[in-house]
């Protein structure tokens, strides 16, 4: 039984640091706790002294992330085995708040063994020091999972302390095994290279300790094979050898050996070197992990930068922290000017209050991690003061305790304009089709009045419909902007093969409405000329000539249709439909002028059409 005499006890009690004294064996009974310790943990001396430490830990109420009793136990055992202080680094502890509850805090803990003359640990002095928690538990959890296998905290898990010992000599192997175990390592002793390789592949050891050249083991060859395999390419390898000359060492390093240890070796040096290699391996893995993360972040950054949609991030004060290239283009403002400015600068005045409420409310309802929301259809403000419609969605993330909102925007002006145009076009198309059908209907009616005989009706009707159709085609080909007079004449009168028809005049473009009706007029005139007029005779002739005249400052097409060489013209006794069409369709509402002259030498028709949109 250990006893502290009064003087020592007073010193212990009054020490400015928090101490807990434990019996090393068998169950870490709490022998003493000084005043500072009790103040730190909020515990009462009578509740803990004389009780095993781990029993006291179990007493405390359960919390979702319990203090790691396993880490503590491992640390205490290490301290005992090594006879050296074990630094647990920063770990969590629970401080009782005196009202039955507790708060989770962090402290640094070092466990120091007190040895007797034989070197056996009899006491453990556990020193603790509360440290402000620099990171909240959530971020700590995130950090741990992100830093994949990092050795940044020193509480090693058992897997990290497993060493494969490859040594063919039984005595040496046993000695090494014993040595390493005493220092708290788990060991996998093997006698040959094959077994060593198998052990390294399957156990994820922390380190390989191998003889360089003993029966069944060529250390350098083993090293090369391990380095060539992905699984063990980064495994720390230490070679034991009697040769330590420069040549031997260089050969070793070239093979991929990390550390070259001479035989015979000093125990403490061996252990020290192993510890250093293990720490180095951990740091390397840590850096590799960080480089990977940096690469991922760089990729993400370039994705955001090249995205077609505008991406804008704002902090909790709604100041812009990210403004990608698409945003620069959308708002007409470069990123440098936008960063640090309030998002409000890009929102029209009248929407700012509502928007602020929106983001605020959104920020509050998000729990932890990311929450998404659609802001729906809104209006934004370009740098030049022009408002435009946008579609936006917002997300919220918490990174390192900081809240970040990210808004993704799409400019809807083009889409809205396109939708509106489509609506108009469909409406117009519908109207035109109905109108055209009505015209065809009227045409059928009128034709039927003139041609009672079905065959003649069909012929005439078809002819007229075709005339309408080809005029339409001409217009469609020109995008309904207008039709070229020459093309219209050729279409309606099937020129090119008929030498009796002569054209003369400048290029003129007719407006769509005129083109359609003029086409039909030309058809009627031509149909009449073929049946009764100049084109009914081989020696007949049709002259088509036109000019552009200015009448009262407006341009007009003055077009003449002159037949000659045909049979004598007869003035019709009844104005049938064709004649009415010729005389009226260009004049009724279209403000053209048509004069039909049934001159005996041949029919003449003079047509005057305004070429610019007229005033009604």
């Amino acid at each position: 039984m250990i006893d502290l005499n009064s003087a020592h006890r007073l010193l212990f009690e009054a020490a400015p640091h928090a101490y807990l004294a434990l019996r090393a064996e068998p169950d870490f009974t709490i022998l003493f706790a000084n005043a500072k310790y009790l103040a730190t943990t909020g515990e009462k001396s009578e509740n803990i002294v004389g009780r095993p430490l781990f029993a006291v830990l179990r007493d405390l109420p359960h919390d979702p992330e319990p203090v790691d009793a396993d880490d503590l136990r491992a640390s205490l055992h290490r301290a005992i085995r090594q006879g050296l202080p074990d630094d647990m680094g920063v770990c969590r502890y629970r401080r009782a708040d005196g009202r039955g509850g507790f708060e989770v805090r962090t402290w640094k803990r070092v466990n120091t063994p007190i040895l007797d003359e034989a070197g056996k640990a009899i006491l453990i002095l556990s020193q603790v020091e509360d440290v402000p928690s620099a990171i909240d538990s959530q971020t700590a959890a995130a950090a741990r999972s992100a830093l994949n296998g990092s050795s940044s905290d020193l509480s090693d898990t058992p897997e990290r302390r497993r060493i494969v010992i490859a040594e063919s000599d039984a005595d040496t192997r046993l000695a090494l095994d014993g040595l390493l175990r005493n220092w708290g390592y788990d060991t996998i002793p093997v006698a040959d290279a094959e077994a060593a390789m198998a052990a390294c592949f399957t156990n994820s050891p922390t380190l390989l300790l191998s003889d360089v050249a003993s029966p069944g083991i060529d250390g350098l060859a083993l090293t090369r094979r391990l380095r060539a395999d992905e699984r063990t390419a980064a495994l720390p390898i230490m070679i034991l050898s009697q040769q330590t000359g420069e040549d031997a060492r260089i050969k070793g390093y070239e093979a991929g050996v990390d550390e070259y240890m001479a035989k015979p070796f000093a125990e403490r040096e061996l252990i020290a070197r192993i510890e250093s290699l293990v720490a180095l391996a951990g740091a390397r893995a840590d850096i590799a992990g960080r480089l990977r993360r940096v690469a991922v972040l760089a990729r993400l950054a370039s994705v955001v930068e090249t995205a077609m949609d505008a991406v804008i991030s704002i902090d909790a004060n709604q100041k812009i922290t990210l403004f990608n290239a698409a945003a620069e283009k959308m708002f007409g403002c470069d990123a440098l000017s936008a960063l640090g400015r309030p998002l409000d600068d890009f929102i029209p005045h009248r929407f700012r209050a509502a928007h602020a409420r929106h983001v605020d409310g959104f920020g509050k309802t998000g729990v932890s991690g990311r929450t998404m929301g659609r802001l729906g259809d809104l209006t934004a403000l370009r740098a030049n003061g022009v408002e435009f419609p946008i579609e936006a969605s917002i997300s919220r993330a918490q990174i390192d305790g900081e809240v970040l909102f990210t808004v993704i925007l799409r400019d809807m002006s083009e889409r809205e304009a396109a939708a509106e145009t489509q609506r108009l076009l469909i409406g117009e198309l519908d109207h035109r089709v109905k109108n055209t059908l009505a015209i065809v209907q009227a045409m059928a009616n009128q034709t039927a009045k003139a041609y009672v005989d079905p065959k003649m009706f069909v012929e005439s009707f078809n002819g007229r419909i075709s005339a309408m159709a080809s005029a339409h085609t001409l217009l469609t080909e020109a995008g309904w902007k207008g039709a070229d007079l020459g093309s219209l004449l050729r279409e309606q009168l099937t020129l090119g093969v008929d030498p009796r028809i002569v054209l003369a005049g400048p290029p003129v473009s007719l407006r769509p409405q005129f083109a359609l009706h003029f086409g039909m007029v030309l058809y009627e005139l031509g149909s009449n000329a073929r049946k009764y007029g100049a084109l009914s005779r081989d020696e007949g002739r049709l002259d088509l000539c036109w000019t552009v005249e200015t009448i009262e400052n407006a341009p007009y097409l003055a077009f003449d249709w002159i037949e000659s060489g045909g049979p004598p013209t007869e003035k019709p006794r009844v104005r049938h439909f064709g004649t009415r069409l010729i005389e009226t369709s260009l004049t009724h509402a279209l403000q053209g002028k048509v004069e039909l002259d049934f001159a005996p030498e041949g029919l003449c028709c003079r047509i005057l059409l305004p070429l610019r949109p007229g005033i009604a």
Binding site: K434, Q446, F577
Partner: protein, 120 residues
């Protein structure tokens, strides 16, 4: 004979409508296809009814409809557009859709004499 004002800017249709009405014993005033002419006739002529195309040369037929309504002349829109293209004040007026059935048009025109004068 009842006098019916025909306002239609597409000649073929105007002729067609004119023909139907005349064959049925109506007197056709017009047909005219420009807003100026239509307004003049709507104001000055003695009329028993009117057929109005909604879009004519020079603009929409809204003013003509107003004049006719004030004078108490019954009318019908003959149009290829839907109801939402009608003049605002006359959204629930009678329509004859293009292309129309001759009988349907005639029935509407005959019905003018039964209709009470419409106020705008």
């Amino acid at each position: 004979m009842p006098r019916i004002l025909v306002i239609e800017d597409e000649f073929l249709l105007a002729a067609h409508i004119g023909g139907i009405l005349e064959d049925d014993g109506f007197d056709v005033i017009g047909p005219v296809g420009t807003l100026a002419e239509a307004v003049k006739l709507a104001k000055d002529e003695d009329l028993n009814g009117a057929l109005l195309d909604v879009n004519i040369v020079g603009g929409r037929v809204d003013d003509v409809a107003d004049i006719l309504a004030r004078r108490g002349v019954p009318f019908v829109f003959v149009t290829g557009y839907g109801r939402d293209h009608l003049p605002l004040n006359f959204r629930d007026a009678f329509i004859v859709n293009k292309p129309f059935d001759d009988k349907n048009l005639l029935a509407r025109v005959r019905g003018f004499s039964d209709q009470p004068p419409r106020a705008s």
